[in-house]
C-alpha cells in the first residue's frame, strides 16, 4: 500500500515539473542567501582573527601603554625581575610600511627572535625557515624576513635589498630569511607580514627606545602578579595596563558587529520571504491533490499515513532544494565576500581575504532553516487536507470560500502582532536583538493583513477596472480580472504577501540608505568647511600616518591661507565608573581650531554660547554622538581616560554629530591635549585650510602642490609627500565610500526580489493549472488567445499593483524603524528620516514589473493551451 502511495506522490511531483522546480528553487534561493551572507561574514571574521593571531600568536596577555607606547626599559626591567613569568615575555613593535612604489602596504612586526620561541610558534610550528637564518635578524642591522610567497611576489631573494617607506621616511633593508608558513592559515596571515628585529623596526618606524607592547604568555593568577609588579613601579609607569589579548579581538568584533548585524537582518528577511514561498507552493501542491487525498481516504488510507506522506514529501523536496541552496550559497559567498571585505576595509581596517572558509555552523544553520522551513510550511496544509472530510475535499469553490472567510481572522492576528511589535519597540531598552525581534514580528503581522487587504482592494478595483475596460467595450473582462485576484486568494495570497514583503524590504532599506546619505551630505556640508585639506598619504589600514610639524608651517605660510584647523588622532583607554577598563579604547582627536573653524562642530547637546572659549581654554572635551550614546554619557558627565600624565577626568562640554566612525570620538583642543598626552613634536594627521574669499581654489591647490613638492625634493628621505584634497573632492570621496558600503545591500535586495518573483511565478503557474477549464469555456465562448493573454496579464497587473501599494506603508514603516531604532541602537547615530516620493514610485513600479514579468510565461501558456484539451479535464 505505502509503496503505491509513495508512487502516487512521486508521480504528482514529476508530472508538474514546473511547480516542483519552482518550489525547490525558492527554497534553494532562500537558503543560499542566508548561507551566503553567513559564510561571507564568517570568512571575513576569520580573516580578522588570523590577522590578530599572526601578531599575537599564543600570547594570552599584553602590557600596553599610552598612545606613544612603552619605554623599552620597562621590558628590560621585567625581563630581569627573576619572576617565573618573566621568561615568557616578548617585546613587540608594530607598524605599517610600504614597499617600492608605495602601492604595496605591509605590516612590519618588530620581534626579539630570542624571546619569541618561548612565547610564539613563529619560526617553529607555524613557520619554518626556508632559506637564510632568522638569527641574522638580530646580528645584522636593517634586515628583515618575509614569507617565501611574498618574497617571490615582490621578486626578492635572500641577500637582496628592498626600499621601504614609513611615516619616518624611506630606508633600505636587506632580506636575510625567507620563512615558509606550515599551513594555510599561517600562509594567509603571512601574506602581508614583514618581520624584523625590534631595534630595526624601531628605527624604521621612528620610535627608538619605545615598544608598542609587551606580549606575555601567562597561566592563572599571573596577570594579578604582574599587575602588582607594575603598580609597584607606578611612579614611572603610570597609564600602563595589562590586559588579556582576547579583549583586543573583542574590540575588533565590536566594530564589525554592527555592520554584520545589518547583513544578517537582511538575510533573515530573505529567509522569511523564502519560507513564505515554500509554504505557498507546498500548500498548493497539497491542496491540488485534495480530490486524490479524498479518494485515498475513501479507499481506507489512514489520516496518519497521508499526513506522514505529505510531510515526507516536504522533507525530501526541502532536503534536495536545501542541498542545492548550500552549494549556491557557497558561490554567492564568494561574490559577497569581496563586498563585505571591501566595506570593512573602507570602514575599519585593511584585511586580506581571498577564499571563503567553509564554516560548518553557517552550513548547518542554512540546512536546518531549509529543511525545517519546508517541513513547517508543509505541516499546515498537510493537516488541513487530511483532517477535512473526504467529500469536502472535492469542492474547490468551497475551499476558496473558506480562504476568503479566514482572511479577516488572519488580519486580526496580524493586527495583534503589530501591536505586540509596537509594545516591544516602546519598551525602554537599547537592545538590538529586541529591536530586530520587534521588526520581525511587525513584518509578520503586516503579512497577515495582506490577504484581507487584497480582498478589499480587489472589491474596490472591480468597478474601476470594469469602467476602465468598458471604454474599450470589455467591461465584464475588466471586472473579471479584478475579481479574480480575490477569487483565487488561496493560490495567490501567500505569493502576494511575499511580494509585498520583498518590495517593502527593498523600499525600507532604500529609504534608510537615502535618509542616511542625505544626513551624511548635510553633515559633510557642516564638517568639511575648510577649502582644502592636507593629509599624509593614504595607507590601507594600520595606524594612519602623520605629518611633521614643518608641513604645518609650510602650509600656513602660503599666501591666501586665512586659518588652519589641525587634527591629530590617537587612542586612549577608558576607565569605567567601577574602576574596570573598557576593552574598547576611545578614539581621541586633538584639534587646533580658531573661532571660525569651530563651526565645523554641529552641536547636538550643550550650550553653544561660550562653548568655544571653554573648549579652547581646556575646560573640557567634546564627544561625538555615538560615543555619548554607547557609553550613555551626556553634557556635564566626565570621562576618565588613561592619559600619559596619569588617569584624568575630562568633563564633557557638548555632544556633536559625527558619522565618520560609529565607535565615537573624543575631541580635545590641541593645547589641552598636550597638557595630558605626549605627542612627538607638532605632528598632525590632517590640516584643513580656510582661504581668503578672493583666492581661487584650483589656483591655490596648484600653488600648494608645487610648494609641497619643492619642500619634499629638498629632503626626499625625510617624509613622504603629503596629499592635497580640495573640499569638493573630499566630499565626493566620502560619499563614494558610503555608496560602496551599501553596494552589498543592493545585491541582497535584488536577491530578495528574485525570491518573491519566484513566488509569484509559481502561484501563477498553479493558477494556470487550476483555471484551465475556466479558460477553456471562455475560449469556447469566443475569447481569442490574445484576449486570454490580456485577461491573465491584466490580473497579474492588478496583483502587482495591490502588492506594490501595500508595500508602501510597510516599507515606509520599515525605513523609519531602521533609521530611528536600528541605526540608533547599533551605531548611535541620529539620522534624518526622509521619504522621497520617487522611492515610492519606484517600489510601486518594482512590484508591478516583477508581477508582470512573472505573469508573462503563465499568461502565454494559458493563451496557447488547447481549449479542447482544457474542456476534457474536469
Amino acid at each position: 500500500m505505502t509503496r503505491i502511495l509513495r508512487r502516487t506522490f512521486l508521480r504528482h511531483l514529476l508530472r508538474h515539473p514546473w511547480q516542483t522546480g519552482l518550489t525547490g528553487l525558492g527554497v534553494a534561493l532562500a537558503v543560499s542567501i542566508v548561507v551566503g551572507i553567513d559564510l561571507a561574514n564568517a570568512s571575513a571574521e576569520r580573516a580578522f582573527d588570523l590577522a590578530i593571531e599572526a601578531v599575537a600568536g599564543r600570547t594570552t596577555h599584553e602590557v600596553i601603554g599610552g598612545p606613544d607606547g612603552l619605554n623599552e626599559s620597562l621590558y628590560t626591567e621585567l625581563r630581569s625581575s627573576g619572576e617565573p613569568w618573566a621568561r615568557r615575555s616578548a617585546p613587540v613593535v608594530e607598524g605599517r610600511i610600504s614597499i617600492g612604489d608605495a602601492r604595496r602596504s605591509l605590516r612590519l612586526l618588530g620581534l626579539d627572535p630570542f624571546a619569541e620561541p618561548a612565547l610564539r610558534d613563529l619560526g617553529a610550528d607555524v613557520f619554518s625557515v626556508d632559506d637564510g637564518a632568522l638569527g641574522d635578524l638580530l646580528v645584522e642591522p636593517r634586515t628583515v624576513a618575509l614569507a617565501a610567497s611574498l618574497a617571490d611576489e615582490l621578486g626578492v631573494d635572500v641577500g637582496d635589498s628592498l626600499e621601504v617607506t614609513t611615516a619616518n621616511g624611506t630606508a633600505v633593508v636587506r632580506l636575510v630569511s625567507r620563512i615558509r608558513p606550515r599551513d594555510e592559515l599561517a600562509r594567509r596571515a603571512a601574506r602581508d607580514l614583514l618581520v624584523a628585529d625590534v631595534a630595526t623596526a624601531q628605527e624604521l618606524l621612528g620610535q627608538v627606545g619605545r615598544l608598542d607592547r609587551i606580549d606575555l604568555r601567562l597561566v592563572d593568577g599571573e596577570a594579578d602578579a604582574i599587575r602588582s609588579w607594575l603598580s609597584e613601579r607606578s611612579g614611572s609607569v603610570e597609564g600602563i595596563e595589562i590586559r588579556p589579548v582576547a579583549a583586543r579581538s573583542g574590540a575588533l568584533d565590536q566594530m564589525t558587529r554592527a555592520f554584520r548585524l545589518n547583513l544578517e537582518a537582511l538575510s533573515l528577511l530573505a529567509l522569511l520571504v523564502g519560507v513564505f514561498l515554500v509554504h505557498n507552493t507546498l500548500t498548493f501542491s497539497v491542496v491540488r491533490r485534495r480530490p486524490l487525498l479524498g479518494r485515498l481516504r475513501a479507499l481506507g488510507v489512514q489520516r496518519r499515513e497521508l499526513l506522514s506522506l505529505v510531510l515526507l514529501e516536504g522533507a525530501v523536496l526541502g532536503g534536495i532544494a536545501t542541498a542545492v541552496g548550500l552549494v549556491l550559497g557557497l558561490v554567492l559567498a564568494e561574490g559577497l565576500l569581496g563586498l563585505v571585505v571591501r566595506t570593512i576595509n573602507d570602514l575599519y581596517f585593511a584585511v586580506e581575504v581571498q577564499n571563503v572558509s567553509i564554516d560548518l555552523r553557517a552550513l548547518a544553520k542554512g540546512g536546518l532553516l531549509g529543511v525545517g522551513g519546508s517541513l513547517l510550511a508543509a505541516l499546515a496544509p498537510a493537516r488541513e487536507a487530511t483532517t477535512s472530510p473526504p467529500r469536502w475535499a472535492l469542492l474547490r469553490s468551497q475551499f476558496e470560500q473558506r480562504t476568503l472567510r479566514s482572511a479577516p481572522r488572519l488580519a486580526a492576528a496580524g493586527l495583534l502582532l503589530c501591536l505586540l511589535a509596537s509594545a516591544l519597540l516602546a519598551w525602554p531598552s537599547r537592545s538590538l536583538p529586541i529591536a530586530f525581534a520587534a521588526i520581525f514580528v511587525f513584518v509578520l503581522g503586516f503579512a497577515g493583513l495582506v490577504p484581507a487587504a487584497t480582498v478589499a482592494a480587489s472589491h474596490l478595483a472591480t468597478p474601476l477596472m470594469g469602467r476602465g475596460a468598458g471604454l474599450v467595450g470589455q467591461k465584464i473582462l475588466g471586472r473579471m480580472a479584478a475579481r479574480g485576484v480575490a477569487g483565487s486568494l488561496s493560490r495567490t495570497g501567500v505569493a502576494m504577501a511575499a511580494l509585498t514583503l520583498a518590495v517593502a524590504t527593498t523600499l525600507g532599506v532604500q529609504v534608510m540608505i537615502l535618509s542616511f546619505r542625505a544626513t551624511l551630505v548635510d553633515w559633510l556640508e557642516t564638517t568639511l568647511q575648510a577649502d582644502v585639506y592636507v593629509a599624509a598619504q593614504l595607507r590601507s589600514g594600520g595606524p594612519a600616518q602623520t605629518l611633521g610639524a614643518h608641513w604645518t608651517r609650510v602650509v600656513s605660510d602660503l599666501p591666501g591661507v586665512e586659518s588652519v584647523v589641525s587634527q591629530y588622532r590617537t587612542q586612549a583607554l577608558v576607565q569605567r565608573a567601577d574602576g574596570t577598563l573598557d576593552p574598547i579604547p576611545a578614539r581621541l582627536a586633538a584639534t587646533r581650531v580658531d573661532r571660525r573653524g569651530f563651526d565645523i562642530f554641529r552641536i547636538l547637546e550643550g550650550d553653544e554660547r561660550g562653548l568655544y572659549e571653554q573648549f579652547a581654554s581646556g575646560h573640557g572635551v567634546l564627544v561625538s554622538e555615538p560615543f555619548a550614546y554607547h557609553r550613555d554619557l551626556g553634557v556635564g558627565d566626565t570621562i576618565r581616560l588613561m592619559a600619559d600624565d596619569g588617569v584624568g577626568d575630562f568633563p564633557i562640554l557638548a555632544v556633536y554629530s559625527d558619522y565618520a566612525t560609529d565607535r565615537g570620538i573624543v575631541t580635545f583642543h590641541r593645547d589641552h591635549f598636550e597638557q595630558h598626552f605626549r605627542v612627538a613634536g607638532e605632528r598632525n594627521h590632517s590640516l584643513g585650510l580656510f582661504l581668503a574669499s578672493d583666492r581661487n581654489i584650483d589656483d591655490f591647490v596648484d600653488d600648494l602642490e608645487r610648494r609641497l613638492e619643492e619642500v619634499h625634493s629638498d629632503r626626499p628621505n625625510h617624509e613622504p609627500l603629503p596629499r592635497v584634497v580640495a573640499n569638493a573632492e573630499l566630499k565626493r570621496l566620502s560619499l563614494e565610500i558610503f555608496d560602496r558600503t551599501f553596494a552589498i545591500t543592493g545585491v541582497l535586495r535584488l536577491l530578495a526580489i528574485g525570491v518573491a518573483f519566484l513566488g509569484v511565478l509559481s502561484a501563477l503557474m498553479a493558477l494556470q493549472l487550476e483555471r484551465a477549464r475556466e479558460l477553456g469555456v471562455l475560449r469556447a465562448t469566443g475569447l481569442t488567445p490574445g484576449q486570454v493573454w490580456g485577461l491573465v496579464t491584466l490580473q497579474t497587473g492588478v496583483m502587482g499593483s495591490i502588492a506594490g501599494l501595500l508595500s508602501l506603508p510597510l516599507g515606509a514603516a520599515l525605513a523609519a524603524l531602521l533609521v530611528h531604532v536600528i541605526n540608533k541602537r547599533s551605531f548611535g547615530w541620529t539620522l534624518a528620516y526622509q521619504l522621497p516620493p520617487m522611492a515610492l514610485v519606484q517600489a510601486l513600479g518594482l512590484a508591478l514589473v516583477a508581477a508582470l514579468l512573472a505573469g508573462l510565461y503563465p499568461a502565454w501558456k494559458m493563451s496557447r493551451s488547447s481549449p479542447a484539451l482544457a474542456l476534457r479535464e474536469e
Binding site: 473582462l477 469566443g782 488567445p785 474542456l871
Partner: protein
C-alpha cells in the same frame, strides 16, 4: 427518401454544417487512436440533430470539430460553407463568438462573474453590449426563471439553475448554431426534464440549429434526427425524421 447509407440531407438548401471524409486521430505518445474514421455529415439550418453514443465513442470530439475548437486530422469541416481548417485561430474564435452557442455538461459558468455578467459576456465579446441587448438578455434570464438571481455568483446556484443560466448564455447573442455536450448529464431526471423542455421551447421559438451529444435515449427524443456515433463511424437512426 433513403437515408440509411449516406447521411446526406435531402434538403436542397445549403447545409449550415458539413463534414466531408473527416478523420480524427489522437496521437498520444506513439499510441494512435482513430476516433472518427472518414465520416460525412450534413446538418441543415434549423435542424435538431442528436449525436447518440457510448462514452468514449467520439461525440465530444465531433462537437469540438464542428465548432473549430479542435481540428480534424484529415477531411474538411465547413461552417456555413467556410472550411474551418483554412481559417486562422483568431477567425475560428470570432466565428464561434458570433455564430455559435455552447452548453457543456458542467462547469459552464465563470465563477468570478455574477449570473448577469456571465450572461452578458457573449454580448460584450460580440461588441453588442447595448442597453437594448442587455434588456433582451434580462428577458431571457426571466424566461429561464432566474431573473431573481442575476446578482448571484454561480457557486451558490444549484446544478439545474447553472445549466439554465448556461442555456440562456448560449442563446443570448442570437447564434445560428447551438452546440450542447450532454447538457443534462449531471442532473437528476426531473431537473433534466425541465432543462430539456426549456431548450426545446427556446429553440422552437427561434428556429435555431441544434447539435446535441448524449448517451441517453430519452434525451435523444428531443431531436429531429438521431445519428449514432459508433466505432469511428456515423449512422443515422432509421426512425428519425429529416426536415
Amino acid at each position: 427518401m433513403n437515408h440509411s447509407s449516406t447521411l446526406d440531407t435531402s434538403s436542397h438548401q445549403q447545409p449550415i454544417l458539413s463534414l466531408q471524409a473527416v478523420t480524427k486521430i489522437y496521437d498520444e505518445g506513439g499510441s494512435r487512436q482513430t476516433v472518427l474514421d472518414s465520416v460525412d455529415l450534413q446538418i441543415a439550418a434549423g435542424e435538431r440533430l442528436v449525436l447518440l453514443g457510448r462514452s468514449g465513442s467520439g461525440k465530444s470530439t465531433l462537437l469540438n470539430l464542428l465548432s473549430g475548437i479542435d481540428l480534424a486530422t484529415s477531411g474538411s469541416v465547413r461552417f456555413e460553407g467556410a472550411d474551418l481548417a483554412r481559417l486562422s485561430e483568431r477567425e475560428r474564435t470570432l466565428l464561434r463568438r458570433m455564430r455559435v452557442g455552447f452548453v457543456f455538461q458542467f462547469f459552464n459558468l465563470i465563477p468570478t462573474l455574477t449570473v448577469e455578467e456571465n450572461l452578458l459576456l457573449p454580448l460584450e465579446l460580440a461588441g453588442r453590449s447595448t442597453t437594448r441587448e442587455s434588456k433582451r438578455a434580462l428577458e431571457l434570464l426571466d424566461r429561464v426563471g432566474l431573473a431573481g438571481r442575476r446578482g448571484s455568483f454561480p457557486d451558490v446556484l444549484s446544478g439545474g439553475e447553472q445549466q439554465r443560466v448556461a442555456i440562456a448564455r448560449a442563446l443570448v447573442h442570437d447564434p445560428v448554431v447551438l452546440l450542447a455536450d450532454e447538457p443534462t448529464g449531471n442532473l437528476d431526471e426531473e431537473t433534466a426534464e425541465g432543462v430539456l423542455t426549456l431548450l426545446q421551447e427556446t429553440l422552437a421559438a427561434t428556429g435555431k440549429t441544434l447539435v446535441m451529444a448524449t448517451h441517453s435515449r430519452t434525451v435523444a427524443g428531443l431531436g429531429d434526427r438521431i445519428v449514432r456515433v459508433h466505432g469511428g463511424k456515423l449512422e443515422t437512426e432509421p426512425n428519425s425524421v429529416t426536415l
